[in-house]
């Protein structure tokens, strides 16, 4: 199969996953009742539609961010979760809730995006010339630090209600989001995604190393800022609206590379589609699991992602990533 038909196939799969997410749940809602003026219609409009849209968007954002970060750092282990970008966005969000900034328009979003963007800058400062493992260690440090500070903010939260609100948001889920939340997040994500898609050619050039890329006329300083801004906006907005959903950006580019080959620019769009498919399907399956309450998406992805990361790390040690 050539690349174009593969991508068409992925697009169809994305559409199928989106439709599944619209229908699946404790109550199945078939397309015939989507416009109905009854309980099914309301569930569709108020619950399912925003949830499916969010799944689509944050999945695409995370898959794409993973692919871009891996290409930029020339490191197959990079991903917003592993590098501590998600945790830093969460810290920004928690800080916003604690200070009451979330009551201002875009307050939560601005703080989460600031957290995400500054974490990449910090990472570049502390891990420069550290090699592939250097970035992972730097990310671990950031992730741990952001986690500890988040826990600290929760522990000094003014009342139990605030603490539980923060924890609830942090754990990562697509449930109970309003169309208004989706509408707020969408422009930021779209801008971030557009920035990230513009990096393809520069990421390809980096295959030749930094000097090779620069000799081809690539401005690496500009590229760095595009990535900081793009990942900051996209991942920051997705964390602000749905908490930390991890490892999508780690798992998806690997699967995509196995199909599409390793050229960084070629895996950007497929990784975005793959991320959306994984997130939508996982979220739909969680709804179908029997039990009194749903397993949260963030928790499910961590359970799936951590062993995958371990597997990659073991392969990496043997030198065949």
């Amino acid at each position: 199969m050539n690349t174009r038909s593969l991508t068409s196939f992925l697009l169809l799969l994305t559409l199928a996953a989106f439709l599944l997410s619209l229908m699946a749940g404790k109550v199945w809602i078939w397309p015939t009742s989507w416009a109905a003026d009854n309980a099914d219609g309301w569930i569709f409009l108020e619950l399912r539609l925003p949830r499916a849209l969010l799944g689509l968007c944050i999945g695409a954002v995370l898959g794409l961010s993973g692919a871009v970060l891996q290409g930029y750092l020339r490191n197959p282990l990079a991903d917003p979760t592993v590098l501590g970008v998600s945790a830093s966005a969460a810290l920004g969000g928690v800080g916003a809730i604690y200070l009451g900034l979330n009551l201002l328009p875009f307050g939560l979003f601005a703080c989460a995006m600031l957290g995400a963007g500054s974490s990449i800058l910090l990472l570049l400062v502390i891990s420069r010339n550290g090699g592939p493992i250097g970035f992972i260690l730097g990310g671990m440090v950031l992730s741990t630090l952001a986690g500890a500070l988040t826990a600290f903010v929760i522990s000094i939260a003014p009342n139990p209600f605030a603490a539980s609100e923060i924890i609830n948001w942090l754990m990562g889920a697509l449930t109970d989001r309003l169309m208004a939340d989706v509408a707020t997040a969408l422009p930021f994500m779209a801008l971030g995604v557009a920035l990230l898609f513009s990096t393809g050619r520069a990421l390809d050039a980096l295959t030749l190393g930094e000097n090779g890329a620069r000799s081809l006329g690539i401005n690496l300083v500009r590229l760095q800022w595009i990535i900081v801004l793009g990942v900051g906006l996209a991942v920051g907005a997705s964390v602000a609206v749905s908490g930390v959903v991890g490892f999508v950006g780690l798992i998806i580019p690997h699967l995509i590379r196995a199909i599409y080959g390793e050229q960084p620019s070629q895996i950007l769009l497929p990784s975005a589609l793959g991320g959306a498919i994984l997130t939508l399907v996982a979220d739909s399956l969680l709804r179908l699991l029997p039990g009194p309450s749903e397993v949260r998406l963030g928790i499910a992805m961590a359970v799936l992602g951590a062993p995958f990361f371990l597997l990659l790390l073991l392969r990496y040690r043997r030198g065949n990533v």
Binding site: L208, G209, N211, R214, S215, G217, N219, E262
Partner: protein
């Protein structure tokens, strides 16, 4: 088409790497930069490639300061084969060669010109045979040729090569040198940092001998590769002679006895 370096000085902090370098490079000539480790060879090449900004003086292309040129414009005239043969992803050889077209690309995909240049570069380096093989699965000699094809695909006026022979067997080293020499015959300027004096005397039209950041000598092989210069710069006892076929050879007897 002139590449010139005027009174160029470069230092990292307090450490002076290059001092008062003046050179005019000629198109159609194979210029070899020689000098012991730490003499400043790679730094000089990086200044020519627009990767480093000298604190004093400048490197210029047709009168325009290279570091001030728009990066894409510069990249259409001057190409660099960096040290170390870095390749990070297992992309097919042909895709790697296509990277050389990046400075010329406008739209989304490669144009007819791009495709033609890629084909010509791969045919010149005899790399078409493994166009679809990932670069990570090539032998050292094959990979060196693919990386050189990447530079050639850029259809540049100047090719800068930083130790292009490192880690290659003699046969492959001669392949690369012959390819670079063919570029000079086509009227392009080639500037290469080499470590091997034997190859330098065989292939160079012009030699720059760097010593502790200064241009110790420059000129033709016979002018620069003299026993006195080699003794002073490398501390070796060596001399040039012509073999039966009239080829210039270098014989290195050993370290200079003090």
């Amino acid at each position: 088409m002139t590449l010139t370096v005027r009174n160029l000085g470069f230092s990292y902090g307090q450490t002076c790497i290059l001092d008062a370098i003046d050179v005019t490079f000629e198109a159609g000539k194979f210029t070899v930069i020689l000098g012991p480790n730490g003499a400043g060879k790679s730094t000089l090449l990086a200044c020519l490639a627009g990767l480093l900004e000298p604190q004093i003086g400048n490197a210029s292309l047709n009168g325009a300061d290279i570091i001030r040129m728009a990066p894409t414009t510069r990249a259409r005239h001057i190409g660099l084969l960096p040290q170390g043969a870095e390749t990070h992803w297992a992309i097919p050889s042909e895709a790697l060669v296509a990277l050389g077209r990046i400075p010329h690309m406008r739209g989304a995909g490669p144009s007819a010109d791009d495709r033609e240049a890629i084909k010509a570069a791969m045919s010149a380096t005899a790399t078409e045979g493994f166009a679809n093989r990932p670069v990570t699965r090539l032998s050292g000699g094959e990979r060196a040729r693919v990386l050189l094809a990447r530079v050639l695909a850029g259809e540049l006026d100047w090719i800068l090569a930083d130790e292009p022979l490192a880690n290659l067997d003699p046969g492959f080293q001669l392949d690369i040198l012959a390819l670079l020499q063919r570029q000079t015959e086509a009227g392009k300027g080639v500037v290469a940092v080499l470590h091997d004096l034997q190859y330098a005397v065989r292939f160079a039209d012009h030699i720059l001998l760097l010593h502790e950041g200064s241009l110790f000598a420059q000129g033709s092989v016979e002018d620069v590769i003299t026993p006195a210069n080699l003794a002073h710069v490398y501390g070796i006892d060596a001399n040039l002679f012509k073999d039966e076929e009239g080829t210039i050879q270098l014989s290195i007897k050993g370290k200079v006895r003090l």
